[in-house]
Amino acid sequence: MFWRILWRLLYASRGRLALAVIAVASGAAVCAALLNLNLDATDKLTREFRVLGANVIISAAQDGDAAATIDAGTMQQIEQLRLPEIVAAAPYLYLSGEADAGANRTAVILAGTWLDEVARMNSWWKVEGNWVSARDSRSDCMIGEEAASRLGLIPGQNVKVVYAGREATLKVAGIVTAGSSEDSQIFIGLPLAQELAGLGERASLIQITARGSATEIEDVIRRLSSALPGVEVRPLRQLAQAEGRLLERIRGLLFGTVILILALSSLGVLAAMAGLALERRRDVGLMKAMGGPVRKIMRFFLAEAMAIGIAGGICGFIVGMALSEWIGERVFSVSITPRLIVLPATLALMVLVSLAGALPLRLLGRVRPSDILRGE
C-alpha cells in the first residue's frame, strides 16, 4: 500500500515534482562534475605537474666542493631499479664556457645531457625549431632564448662552443623558452660535454621526473637513497609545495562550489515543496482524522522527497559526467574518466538536499485535523 500511495502522490503532483527534480538534477550535475573532477582531474593534474620538469635531484654528497661530480654510471643503477614512478631521468654536466656565433661571442653555461630526455622532462617548454631526438648528438644543440638573443642565433645556424681551450661547432636545432635559468644555457650532448671538460664519464647531477603523490615521491627518494650510497638524493621542494598549494586551492574551489550548489538546489526544492505543502495540508488533516499516525503519513512525503533526490541525482550524474569531461578538456586540458564512486556520493548528497528542501512538508506533521475539517 505504501508504494501504491507513493506512486499516486508522485503521479498526482508530477508537474510540481518535475520542477523539483530539475532543481535537484541541475545541482547534481554540477556536483557530480566537480566531484569527478576532484577525483580524476586532481590526480591527472598531479601527473601533469610531475612532468613539469624534474622533481628529484641526485648530486654528489655535499662535502663543501660545489664542483664535485658523480659517476655517470649512476644512471645505469637507476635504470636497473626499474622504479615505475620514474617518468624520465637525465644526467647533466654543467660547464661554464663560451659560445661564438661569428659576430657575437659570450660566456654561457653549457649543459651536457641526454638530449632526447630533455624533451620528455620539459614537454611544456616552448620550442622554436625542433627538439634534438638523438641522445648523444655531436652535431646539434638546443639553445635558451636569452642566449640565442645575445648571440643573434636562429634555428639552423651554427654556434661554436668553447670550454678549457677545447671547442665544437654545432647546429642550432631549436631555441627553447623555459622562463627560467635554462633560457641562458646551451644544451649539448653529454659525451661531447664530457670531452670538452676532459672529465671522462662524470656528471654534475642527475635530474629525475617522478610521478605520484608527495608521499609516493618521498618513497622514490627513500628507495633511491638506499640504493645509491655516496650520493645525495633530494626533492625539489619548491615545485612540490607550489603544486600542493595549487591543488589545495583547486580542491577548495571545487568543494566551495559544491556546497553553494547544494544550498541553491535545496532552495529550489524548498520553493517547489512549499507550494506542494499547501496542497497537501488538507490531505494530511484528513489522514490524521482517519487515524493515520504522523510517522506513517510523513513517511509518504519523505519518501517522495527521497524519490526526487534519487531521480534528480541519477539524471544529474549522467549530465555531470559529460560536464566533467568537457570542463576537464576545456579548463584543465586533461581527459576525465567518469568515476562510478561519484554516483552514490551524488545520490546521497541529493537525497540530503531533497530532505532539507522538503522542510515545508515535514511541517505538515503539525497540522491539526479539526482545523482542516473546519475549513481553516
Binding site: I5, R8, R282, G292
Partner: protein, 223 residues
Amino acid sequence: MTAALVQAEDISKTFAGVRALDSVRFEVLSGEWIAIMGPSGSGKTTLINILGGLDRPTSGRAIVDGVNVGTLGERELTRYRAEKIGFVFQNFYLVPYLSAVENVMLAQYFHSVADEAEAAESLARVGLKGRLDHLPSQLSGGEQQRVALARALINHPKLILADEPTGNLDEANEQMVLELLQELHRSGHTILLVTHSPEIGRMADRRIELAHGRLMHIVANLT
C-alpha cells in the same frame, strides 16, 4: 440492559473566549441512532469533533467505549480514531489522487493492513462495485459519499460520526445515503449524525437539540 457507548459528562469547549459548548450532558446506548440538531454555530460539529478525538473538551468528560477521550495523548488519540471511530463528512473528504478502493484501503492501512479484496467488497456493499478504480473527481457527489461511508465502516468502528453527510447531495443521492445509514442502524451500528433536516432527524431513535452550545432537548422519536 444495553450499556452506554457514549457518555458526555458536562462537556464544555471554549474557542478564544467564545463558549462553543456549555456543559453538555447525555448518553448514547450501543446500537442507537442519534440525530444532533440545531442552528449553525450551536456546537454540533464541535461536539462531534470532541467525541471523535479531533478536539479536546475545555472541561467535562467525553467517554466512548469506556475511554475518556480528553485524557488521551496524541498517539493514543490517533489509535482511538483509527480503531473506534468512523467519520463521514459533509464534504466527503476523499484523498483526490487515490481511487475509490485506495481511499478505503488507506483507512485499512492506518488501522492495520490494507486488504484490497475486503475494500472492494465494502464498496460493492454501497453499490460501487463498478467504480473501484475511479478517482473522486470521476465520481458523483452521492458516489463520493458512499465511498466515504465504505471507508468509515471498513475498520468496524464502534461509533459512526456523520457530520451533515447529505448536506451536499441532491435528493436522489440523499435518499441512497440515508438508506445505507438505516441499513447500518438495523445491523446494530451506533450512529451520531449531525443534521439540519427535521426529516432526517425523525429517522433517528432520538434527537439531541443544541442551541448556543447548550443542550436544549433530548427527544425520543416514536417508531
